[in-house]
């Protein structure tokens, strides 16, 4: 069954939106319904992607609060938790609901408010996704990224410029994105000299914490301009060290392979990609795991400008997690919204529209590869 994306809505991602999780969710839900030109009464299912509202904003039952706020009655609704891929997981459930005939109009809301707790609390909440034996060692997401970056630079004889080039590109893309948290350029030198976070990674190799929300409306057999052709997920190992190779993220490879097969496309068909760059090293690893570049080649492609907005494969034209921001549960939905904008030809921001893309791919990753969801959208 065809699934159309008929409406999108998004807040600017910010370090402190000065709004509750529910307020952000409500705002983008209305925006998406307006964009789809439907009333809230038409919504038959609600799928809220959120990692930790109970811990970060003392909020449970978010899905029901959203329905109440929008006056949605009698819908099927729940909240989907898959850590930093909660947004794409919620989208996957919405597509399933439509394909199963349970819902003809689905509202997907991804949301997170991270500013209402202090950094220590936020760090502890996020690192609670690790295995117990990782947790006692004090491991955080940047720790895994630092180890992977160390292994990557060593194996492929690259230096930190290979990583910094990702940050520079994604910041440049975000300068003209009105929805981005950071709308400022970063030079290679600034990125290289920023304070170390998890060596070899520096501050500019890491995404920020953010508040934000993003919503889409999906319809069955819709005549929307954008079709959701495939959305596929795959789990990977929980304990990161159990991977045969530290540069392998099997969940990304598998989700990508499945989604491309289902959408009947090959790599050459993809005109734009949104990659889960929570750390610069992840953009490189995921591009390789997805098969866009051979192992050890993504950094060269990035340095050569081949993933720039004007390159052979524009990657993260909205700035990615790095510069657009990363409000956990909202990220996966915001990636797909960026693709929808690019495919519809109405990407907000001066000079941000790509040249006539037909096919877009997004990968949203939970934890450091515990679970990944790949979405492919096509212009109808």
């Amino acid at each position: 069954m065809d699934v159309s994306i008929t409406g999108v809505g998004m807040t600017r991602f910010e370090s402190d939106a000065q709004a509750s999780t529910l307020e952000l969710a409500e705002r983008v839900a209305w925006d998406a319904l307006e964009d789809a030109e439907i009333d809230s009464s038409a919504v038959e299912s609600v799928h809220v992607g959120n990692m930790a509202a109970e811990a970060l904003d003392s909020r449970t039952g978010l899905e029901n609060a959203v329905c109440g706020a929008l006056g949605i009655e009698g819908a099927t609704a729940d909240r989907i938790e898959n850590t930093s891929a909660s947004g794409a997981s919620a989208l996957l459930r919405a597509v399933d609901a439509i394909r199963a005939g349970r819902s003809r109009t689905a509202l997907v809301v991804g949301v997170e408010t991270m500013s209402s707790v202090d950094t220590d609390t936020a760090t502890d909440v996020i690192s609670s996704l690790t295995h117990d034996r990782e947790y006692v060692q004090g491991l955080t997401l940047p720790s895994f990224a630092g180890l992977a970056a160390d292994a990557y630079l060593e194996r492929y004889d690259a230096d930190r410029e290979a990583l910094a080039a990702v940050a520079v590109k994604n910041h440049r893309n975000a300068t003209v994105n009105p929805y981005a948290q950071f709308q400022k350029e970063v030079t290679l030198d600034e990125a290289l000299k920023s304070p170390p976070v998890a060596e070899p990674l520096r501050l500019y190799d890491c995404c920020p914490t953010s508040d934000g929300a993003a919503a889409v409306v999906l319809t069955a057999d819709g005549d929307g301009e954008v079709q959701l052709s495939a959305i596929e997920g795959a789990t990977g190992s929980h304990a990161v060290a159990e991977r045969a190779d530290p540069l392998e993220i099997e969940s990304v490879a598998l989700a990508g392979e499945r989604a491309m097969a289902r959408a009947s496309i090959s790599h050459e068909d993809v005109d734009v990609a949104c990659i889960h760059d929570a750390f610069t090293i992840l953009e490189l690893l995921e591009l390789e795991e997805l098969g866009f570049y051979d192992n050890g080649q993504a950094w060269r492609a990035t340095l050569d400008g081949r993933t720039d907005r004007g390159g052979e494969l524009p990657v993260n034209p909205g700035g990615g997690l790095k510069a657009r921001g990363h409000p956990l549960g909202a990220t996966g939905v915001s990636q797909v919204i960026e693709l929808v904008w690019q495919l519809r030809g109405d990407a907000p921001g001066e000079g941000r529209q790509l040249d006539d893309p037909d096919v877009g791919l997004a990968i949203n990753v939970a934890g450091f590869g515990n679970n990944s969801i790949c979405t492919i959208v096509k212009r109808a």
């Binding site: 930790a52 109970e54 811990a55 220590d120 609390t121 760090t123 502890d124 909440v125 690192s127 609670s128 295995h131 117990d132 034996r133 990782e134 947790y135 006692v136 060692q137 004090g138 491991l139 955080t140 940047p142 720790s143 895994f144 630092g146 180890l147 992977a148 970056a149 160390d150 292994a151 060593e154 304070p195 170390p196 976070v197 998890a198 060596e199 070899p200 990674l201 929980h238 304990a239 990161v240 060290a241 159990e242 991977r243 530290p246």
Partner: protein
């Protein structure tokens, strides 16, 4: 959710791995059954020296964890791999490390102690 997680493994066992008494398969990351044969009968054993695959030094650490936190991804015999605290910085990829002194790994509601990896 402000309280820290209580580890399910006795933390002074951080230098120990698990071995299935039925099929001899080994693993480090605690689980209730052997993934190779499904047996729930296993023993612990002390990990011998392993080889460093990658290192990092983390400067922003969670509450109760030392700053900076030196970490190593290390491979041991029997296919066991883990990420654990290195006693000090300056350990290189390819070096041999083993578990040494018992120290505090993470302070909190349930303080975790265990051995750190050292080149000794």
């Amino acid at each position: 959710m402000n309280e820290s997680r209580e580890p399910t493994v006795e933390s002074d066992d951080a230098g120990q791995a698990f071995r299935c008494t039925n099929c001899s398969s080994s693993w480090y990351y605690t689980r209730g059954r052997c993934l190779d044969c499904g047996s729930s009968s296993f023993e612990t054993y002390r990990l011998g020296p392993g080889r460093v695959v990658a290192t990092t030094t983390v400067h922003a650490t969670p509450p109760g964890v030392r700053t900076p936190n030196h970490l190593g991804l290390v491979r041991f015999d029997d296919g066991v791999s883990l990420i654990a605290q290195l006693e000090s910085s300056g350990v290189s990829v390819g070096e041999s490390v083993g578990f040494g002194e018992i120290v505090t790994l993470r302070e909190g509601d349930a303080t975790s102690i265990g051995p750190q990896l050292t080149t000794e």
